[in-house]
């Protein structure tokens, strides 16, 4: 870590793209999972992501960038999926696709998960 004598005056950043080194994925409390067989490659998730956490390769959707995804769930909300099956689901918890122990019965959490197309405690995973 830099001492106060070594800082750039005014916190001005002169190295472009330095936000790459500030990983914000740990802010996440919901984790999106991509289900490739349900994906129609509409790229709405890529378009709507407020960060740049939907990776692409050769015009196709790729995996999530979990170093920066904050779990806002907008991608899952917008995802049209295929035949009523969402291609992005939100599960509670930071790291794994398995849902963590539900955090009490806070209605806000459930509503948020439901809005985002994720599995609230009363529904089956992946629905």
């Amino acid at each position: 870590m830099k001492t106060w004598q070594e800082l750039n005056p005014g916190a001005v950043i002169t190295e472009p793209g330095s936000s790459r080194s500030f990983k914000t994925g740990s802010w996440r409390s919901y984790r999106p999972t991509w289900i490739e067989e349900n994906c129609c490659q509409c790229m709405l998730c890529w378009l709507y992501c407020p960060d740049m956490s939907v990776k692409t390769s050769e015009g196709k959707r790729g995996e999530f960038d979990y170093d920066f995804c904050k779990g806002c769930g907008i991608c899952a909300l917008e995802c049209p999926g295929k035949k009523g099956q969402k291609a992005i689901v939100m599960t509670e918890g930071v790291s794994g696709p398995e849902p963590d122990t539900p955090r009490g019965s806070a209605r806000g959490d459930e509503e948020r998960a439901e809005r985002a197309g994720g599995p609230p405690s009363s529904k089956k995973e992946g629905v």
Partner: protein, 393 residues
């Protein structure tokens, strides 16, 4: 040969901005600072300056525009007063935290409510901890000189901080007095050109302003800010020495008036210092050893130098033209008390609150204060550590 003119304090500020060849000026009118921009926009309209003048929809926007223009790399100035300065408040620490050398003239005016347009120092005192450098001016001449020197201090490579140049609203801003201009060539040479450290318009060297610094780095930035402020007195003295060479007028961190052999003293800012000097002269004629200290550089406050100048006194009154409500003392008193707190020998101190909301500071008020100090210096007990003077009831 420098030219002597009759001008208001506001005209003096506008001329200083003209002479400094400001690149961008964004402002919103407010009494009593309006005349500064009225004069300056006339210079711009008449082609006397090549300044981009941005008339914003509020002071908050005006300061925001100044911040953007300064980050872009321009020399930037503005002016405001009272509620306008209050509305700018949110942006002030952003200007200083991003180390943008904006120069702002402040016509000191009371703060609402009740609504009042008269002079007191509540506006700039409310911004004293925003990380800006603050200079105070006794009269139009000092406002003019401070404004010119402010660009040099703000833009000094070791400093790069915004500067407020304060003068008393109406008393100084609207009073016509003799002012010596600096010739345009001399002023241009003195102020010089400015090159920003990381201008946004330098597209070859991209920079980003307004960064996040959380608990792991924020405190280091604050320490760096404080350390930079510590360099201001030295830079101010260098700049003042150069200014004296071109103008013949000498300035320091503060003005000491008949203070060296004084036993009693008054500390007061801005225009009231002029009245107080006359009172002190009359008391000196009667053999009473009275003196005055008029701070010029208020932020950063030169604690050590002020303490050295005051510690030999027996009794000292600090006259505040604003108050820190809630049983505390006026802000100037608190700084003077802080400065003297490390001195083994120091004067007994009293605090007077005067002249709020344009209330005149009359010579009799200063005389009463000096009479009280004479008694305290003889050992009389202090009747009130803090007292409003010139107030009914």
């Amino acid at each position: 040969m420098t030219k002597m003119v009759a001008a208001t304090g506001n005209e003096a500020i506008a001329h200083a901005m003209r002479l400094a060849k400001v690149d961008v000026c964004s402002a919103y009118p407010i009494t009593p600072a309006t005349e500064i921009m009225q004069r300056f926009t006339a210079f711009a309209a008449d082609g006397e300056v090549q300044t981009e003048v941005l008339l914003a929809e509020s002071e908050h926007s005006a300061m925001s525009a100044c911040i953007g223009a300064a980050a872009a790399g321009g020399r930037v100035a503005t002016a405001t007063s009272s509620q306008g300065l209050a509305l700018m408040w949110e942006m002030l620490p952003i200007a200083s935290g991003q180390r943008l050398p904006i120069v702002m003239a402040v016509c000191n005016r009371a703060i609402s409510a009740p609504v009042n347009i008269g002079c007191d120092h509540s506006d700039s005192m409310g911004t004293r901890d925003c990380g800006w450098i603050q200079l105070y001016s006794e009269n139009g001449q000092e406002a003019f000189d401070n404004m010119l020197m402010a660009f040099r201090i703000a833009e000094h490579p070791e400093i790069r901080m915004p500067v407020m140049v304060c003068q008393d609203g109406f008393i100084t801003s609207h009073s016509i007095a003799n002012i010596q201009w600096l010739e345009a060539d001399a002023a241009a040479t003195f102020v010089g050109s400015y090159r920003a450290s990381n201008p946004l318009l330098d597209i070859q060297r991209p920079a980003s302003y307004g960064q996040l610094a959380l608990s792991d780095t924020y405190m280091e930035y604050r320490k760096a800010h404080e350390a930079t402020m510590g360099k201001v007195p030295g830079v101010l003295r260098e700049v003042a020495a150069e200014f004296k060479a071109v103008s013949g007028r000498a300035y320091d961190l503060f003005e000491s008036y008949r203070l060296e052999d004084a036993e009693i003293g008054i500390v007061v800012l801005n225009s009231a210092a002029g009245t107080t000097k006359d009172i002190i002269d009359r008391y000196r004629d009667r053999g009473i050893k009275a003196g005055l200290l008029k701070p010029r550089l208020y932020r950063p406050f030169p604690y050590d130098e002020v303490a050295q100048a005051l510690k030999h006194l027996k009794a000292l009154a600090v006259l505040d033209r604003s108050d820190s409500f809630g049983g505390s003392f006026g802000p100037l008193y608190l700084d003077i008390a802080g400065a003297l707190s490390t001195c083994a020998q120091r004067p007994v101190m009293i605090n007077k609150i005067f002249g709020l909301g344009g209330r005149d500071y009359m010579p009799e008020q200063g005389e009463h204060v000096l009479d009280e100090l004479i008694q305290i210096a003889k050992g009389a007990p202090v009747k009130a550590a803090k007292e409003y003077i010139g107030v009914r009831g």
